[in-house]
Symmetry: C2
DNA sequence: ATTACTAGTAGACGAGTAA
DNA sequence: TTTACTCGTCTACTAGTAA
């Protein structure tokens, strides 16, 4: 419900995403321009939806936004970002080369995937991916990218197996055009980035494990 | 009203900020998970609030978000940005040195202003500002900065005159800590940036008019 | 197909009250 | 002071209908 989301946003503005914040229904009502009763009902509603956790004490209550609540807010933020934010995003992700599980090589060899990458990225993907572990300071930048418009890569069925969907974001390493690929809807480690490119990046850039790489995303 | 804002956002997502978009109440209702009747009433409500302009035709209507509507959405976007956006904003503004009106030098010599800059930026401002005209490609980045939390610089009265308020955003040129200063509430040219610093930037960096300067804003 | 009205209903609101 | 209940009102919804 829209009103609940507004309320959740106000709590987040008070710092509710970083830890419990203390306030009364009256205070919240003032921020929302409603009565304390309505503010109180909103908090109960948010708790029922598991968007916040509450601990009612004397003179007010401690409220913290849950992970589910934060996800909800980030979804909303991403929508606004699609309206305004796409101009002027500029990101440098720093990380070091790690050895992946070799799945990338397999998936990139499958025609249905190859064709989709070819069509949307403008190049045929090299059969293999480069895996990076991001520098911790790059993780916020990585999160920010989720608000951009990713290219959807659709799954398919073949030989009695289903191959999952994924999403892809165009980027660069120096002058080489690449794409960040994130598989499926499963939770993916936030510090890992998997890259497709028209060439074998390890060979082209003479990379070995632990070498530092900078990935550039410009979106303007 | 929260519901109206949600509706406005959906219209913006369809491209309503860039020009009129054509759709029916049913389509809109589907996006909002409401009946066509409610969607229709929402549109009437938005029109009454002058947040959109409408032109009803056969089989649907053309809707465009007005400037007032876009301002409303940007306000909301800025609030979400204050929750999430402050992590991982990284901006490089490129521009060339121009000669200002010399007002900066005067204002920076006034004690009430000087003290506020000193307190919030951590340095005493050099009496004088450096004016840059931004490269057009930097203007989107400049706009993005408006969603961050600026330091408010308060106005004051002295000698029968009022001195206006301003806002300031910490930044860097290389290793020199600076601040972007934007005066008052008046509309300021979007391609001009005025900088305060602890030193005279022209002298310190041997700058003359038309020299290229890169201003860095990191906010994490 | 639309938009926009009317009618009936369901749900949300604020006031009052108890703990 | 708080929170959270009940109660009466009123707004906002969906369904149906006309243009």
């Amino acid at each position: 419900m829209a009103e609940d989301l507004q309320c959740l946003k106000v709590i987040a503005l008070m710092g509710g995403c970083r830890g419990p914040v203390f306030f009364s229904s009256q205070t919240l009502g003032a921020s929302l321009s409603t009565s304390p009763q309505t503010a109180s009902r909103r908090l109960q509603s948010l708790e029922r939806q598991m968007l916040v956790t509450r601990s009612v004490g004397p003179g007010g209550q401690y409220i913290a936004v849950t992970q589910k609540g934060e996800d909800e807010l980030r979804r909303e933020y991403a929508e606004y970002s699609r309206v305004f934010g796409r101009e002027g995003v500029q990101c440098l992700l720093n990380g070091h080369v790690i050895t992946g599980l070799g799945e990338g090589r397999y998936y990139m060899s499958l025609e249905p995937y190859r064709l989709q990458f070819q069509r949307h990225l403008g190049f045929a993907p090299y059969p293999g991916t480069l895996n990076l572990r991001l520098n911790p300071s790059s993780i916020p930048h990585r999160k920010k990218l989720d608000t951009l418009e990713w290219i959807p890569i659709h799954g398919f069925r073949a030989e009695d197996r289903t191959f999952g969907e994924a999403r892809c974001l165009p980027c660069r390493i120096g002058d080489i055009r690449c794409g960040i690929v994130v598989p499926g809807r499963t939770h993916y480690p936030e510090d890992i980035v998997e890259l497709v490119a028209p060439v074998g990046l390890r060979a082209a850039l003479s990379l070995k494990d632990n070498d530092i790489v900078t990935v550039e995303v410009d979106y303007d």
